[in-house]
Amino acid sequence: MQNYVWLIPALPFAAFVVTLLLGRWWIKAESHWIPILAMAGSFGLSIAAFIQIRGAEEPVIVRMWQWFSVGSFQVPLAFQIDQLTAVMLLVVTGVGLLIFIYSKGYMHGDPGYYRFFAYMSLFAFSMLLLVLANNYLLLYFGWEAVGLCSYYLIGFFYHKPEAAAAGKKAFIVNRVGDFGFGLGVMLIFVTFGTLDYTGVFAKVAGGAVGHNVLVAIALLLFMGAMGKSAQFPLHVWLPDAMEGPTPVSALIHAATMVTAGVYLVARSSVIFASAPAALLVVGIVGTFTAIFAAVIGMAQNDIKKVLAYSTVSQLGYMFMALGVGAWSGAIFHLVAHAFFKALLFLGAGSVIHSMGGEQDMRCMGGLARRIPVTWITFMTGALALSGVFPFAGFWSKDEILGKNFQAGVYVVWFVGLVAAFITAFYTFRMVFVTFWGKETRSDEKTCALIHESPKSMTWPLILLAVASTVGGFIGLPGSFGVIQRFLEPVFSRASDILGVAEPSVGTLDIVLMVVSLVVALMGMGLAWLIYVRRAQDLPQFFGALFGPVYRVVYNKFYVDEFYAATFVRVAVDGSRSVWHNFDEKVIDGAVHGSAWLWQNWGRVVRPLQTGRVQNYLLGILIGVFVIVTVVVFL
């Protein structure tokens, strides 16, 4: 492993350099080959690393070279391979490879074709560096680098003002998080005198450091995670980031980069486990984000925006898991989510592609017959996201909810359950509005052009659909969980600190599973009622469902009102108003407000620089006066 690990990030980097340098004039429309081959190579090597690291108790450290040293403090450029890294490598390279292939079809004919692949390769390189790093500094480097790539790719369609604004927004919001992260890294350095994971964790576990410092470090790191993983209130950049090309949304804003925050917290599990207060914050933020974003997701009409809010919500689930110390549960959901969310995004991309760029779901409908492969795969992804047995999302979400139930935080469990219900609702709202129905609600020209996507796009969809279907079985509950046992060496120390019980499967698990499955089905059913059966039929449906009791207590009219008041007004309108008031007004207002602040700051300071040289000289004299006065009274 020592001798090939460096190739995993090096291959995409080489692809980046070659594509950037030669793409414009020489390779042009064939620019996809080198990046795809590089990704395939990295994927193969990742599999090899994955196999070799299986069951290893200690992480493998691969030292490249001494990056720099300050006195006794050394920062080597070194990689650390352990089970967590291996899983992340597989996700990044595997999903990345499929998305690269997909991009070949999706980006075909774009004037910036080579640029796209170059940036994507650079992104892959940065992300691999991030997960391979063996110290916080290198992690920070990868962190910043993926951020930069992300901004470039969000603003890829720079001629659209929204794309530019979105890039800018992502940039500014992430600054807030990165600032905390940077300070956290500094604090780690000052506290422990090292930045290596092994060194830091050994010192934390040794109990040499005060609790308050650990809480501070953990919270600062989590601040970074909140920015990158779009947790409330720093989530606002992610939905806007959908202005980027769809493969970018799939790779960066669903499957990999946004999970970096989850990875960071999981990686620092020892620190977080030693700082329960910080862990509590993680859990609360995650839980709130999960339900909050799900609520907003109900009101979106742009197909990609729905998926974006759903991503924010699912990331919330992962933090919810981390909050109770279910580290491997979070990583399991991360993997499963990478599969089905990438699938959904790519499916959405395929839909958009077939609709000639249309993203508004209200203009779609009846696509199931026109683009069957996309429909089936999208449906698979939707089932996985909703948490329907036996798809991947079912197992991973259930794992998280179950862990929370076992930990005794029933509030979180309940909120998670409600969020799962809403998730199923908005997911199938999306499916029904897009694919169901007789005809497409668009103009004739667009309708005539609807076609299934090329093979390079459908094959990744099919592969991801398979992964989303069977992927969940790696994480069966309790001692059956392959991934949990695989990851155990990484998290055993943190779990020991927290005192998390050994997993076992009991009746309770089965009950919880059934409950969450029922909830998911109810959400789907409601969506079916509203968007397939249509609202006017709903009272009858309720009537049929609850039978005579219902009819006796309420008359039809009243049920109608009930429905309108509860679901339409409260849920959908309410979610829209949350979206408008919070996301658009508060956060955007804060972003614009800071701009306003700077302008006024300018009004304060700029007159100080008068432009008259003698004022400057007077400034010098004042400086001299102050200094001499200090000397006199010394």
Partner: protein
């Protein structure tokens, strides 16, 4: 005069010969100024080569006025390299501004001679004269576009503030002489060691410090900087932001360590206070700038603040380690900032009179001129101190040493303010790549060889020292060691 004395100034003599040759051949040239450029570059690279050949020497020359050591050679190479890069970036620019005359090159070379001697000087007399050589050449370079109001104004402000402060510093030097009876650093130290460090000594030392603080553009002696940089020719502004500043830092380090170690605590505190003020002023003013050239001027003030934190930590801790980190910062900053100004010079030479360096006009630049956009982004990211660039390494070393000197709070202020600085640096990147231009500025031609070489070298140095800083650090430690022998 023994021959060894001359050997100690051969690097400067080579530059002097080149400068004189330029003045002599200038009248005989037709429109083409390639020959002038060739002579200047030959002189500078010759100087670098000879300097490197003299590595490892420790030669005291001219009655102890000057010491040729690795310390001096480090700066000689840095200045000559900075000067050569400035020259490479100037050719196009001057051509496009239609004032391409040899005296520009000669004046730049003269300024470099002054800077070289400042770093090598071990005597206040030589230091003062060299400083003035550098300063007077700088005033003239700032005034180079004599028909432009801004260039005139820039030069006027530089001249008045510069000579005013240098008179104050000279007054301080006379007081140092009065108390020590000598101007040689070692002799001063020797004489002052016997005396109690009273307010008289501190006053003298502080007045000298004020003069140098002016040169490094420390607040509150900074107000000339934005105006002078804005009005000076762009490559020269870049040169001002690195050359004279580094030279002044070399004197602060050398003279204050060797000459006034008895007052180290006092001048350490002075520089720490100046550092805080400078970091604040530089960053908070840079935030509101809409002109990129002016923003870079304020940013150079902010960087002077970070550097002063290192100098202050050195005095405060009475240890040379923070001083060494100042050198690595200076080396990294030289290349980064020259690169940033170089891109601006390139844009000015391409777009022409319409270009006013405003942020608005940078919009969409990343697409129209990808190389310029990418390079400027690299330099901006590096100035911010994001990992993977030389700026990060430099900041890491510097603030690490400040923490090491038990000045954690100072490092925290520095890091917080450099986090603020991300706002104005990265805003340039955002505008270049994510904003549609209001008016299309045409980038007429490709980059010329000189400009491409200059920008390429700066970018390469920025990246290389980001990943392999060990070599640079080792040579700095060696250079610093020779300061005390």
């Amino acid at each position: 005069m023994p021959g060894g004395d001359v050997l100690a100034i051969v690097p400067e003599l080579i530059i002097l010969v080149a400068a004189s040759a330029i003045l002599l051949i200038e009248p005989f040239l037709k429109a083409d100024r390639t020959a002038v450029m060739a002579v200047a570059l030959t002189g500078l690279f010759g100087s670098i080569a000879v300097s490197l050949g003299l590595l490892g020497q420790n030669r005291v020359a001219f009655a102890g006025m000057l010491v040729l050591s690795d310390w001096a050679i480090f700066f000689k190479v840095l200045f000559a390299a900075g000067g050569a890069l400035t020259l490479m970036m100037s050719s196009d620019y001057l051509e496009s501004q239609r004032r391409h005359i040899g005296e520009y090159y000669a004046l730049l070379l003269f300024a470099i001679i002054g800077m070289d001697l400042m770093a090598a000087a071990r005597d206040l007399m030589l230091f003062y004269v060299s400083l003035e050589l550098m300063a007077i050449s700088s005033y003239l370079l700032a005034a180079f576009f004599r028909y432009r109001v801004r260039s005139n104004e820039s030069s006027l402000k530089y001249l008045l503030t510069g000579s005013f402060t240098s008179a104050i510093m000279l007054y301080g030097i006379s007081l140092v002489y009065g108390q020590a009876g000598a101007t040689n650093y070692a002799a001063i130290e020797n004489a002052l060691r016997g005396q109690a460090t009273g307010s008289g000594t501190i006053l003298a030392v502080f007045l000298v410090a004020i003069g140098l603080a002016f040169k490094v553009s420390s607040a509150p002696f900074h107000m000339w900087v934005p105006d002078v940089y804005e009005g000076a020719p762009t490559p020269i502004a870049g040169f001002f932001s690195v050359g004279p500043k580094a030279a002044a830092f070399s004197v602060i380090l050398a003279a204050f360590i060797v000459g006034f170690p008895g007052a180290a605590e006092q001048w350490g505190i002075l520089f720490i206070v100046l550092s805080i003020l400078t970091m604040l002023v530089g960053n908070l003013f840079a935030l509101v700038q809409t002109n990129v050239k002016r923003m870079l001027a304020y940013s150079s003030i902010a960087h002077a603040g970070y550097l002063l934190a290192g100098v202050g930590a050195m005095g405060w801790s009475k240890n040379s380690y923070p001083g060494e980190t100042v050198l690595i910062y200076l080396a990294a900053y030289t290349f980064i900032n020259l690169g940033a100004f170089g891109v601006l010079a390139f844009l000015k030479s391409q777009v022409g009179a319409k270009f006013d360096y405003s942020l608005k006009q940078m919009a969409g630049l990343g697409r129209r001129s990808p190389w310029a956009g990418v390079l400027l982004s690299l330099f901006m990211i590096s100035l911010t101190g994001i990992p993977g660039t030389a700026g990060f390494i430099a900041k890491f070393y510097l603030f690490g040493s400040v923490v090491w000197a038990n000045l954690v709070w100072l490092a925290v202020i520095g890091v917080l303010l450099s986090a603020v600085s991300a706002y104005y640096y990265l805003r340039v990147v955002i505008v270049m790549f994510f904003k549609e231009p209001e008016e299309e500025l045409s980038i007429s031609g490709p980059m010329s060889g000189g400009m491409a070489a200059g920008l390429g070298i700066t970018a390469f140095a920025t990246l290389r020292s980001a990943f392999f800083p060990g070599w640079l650090w080792d040579s700095i430690v060696r250079a610093f060691g020779t300061l005390f022998s």
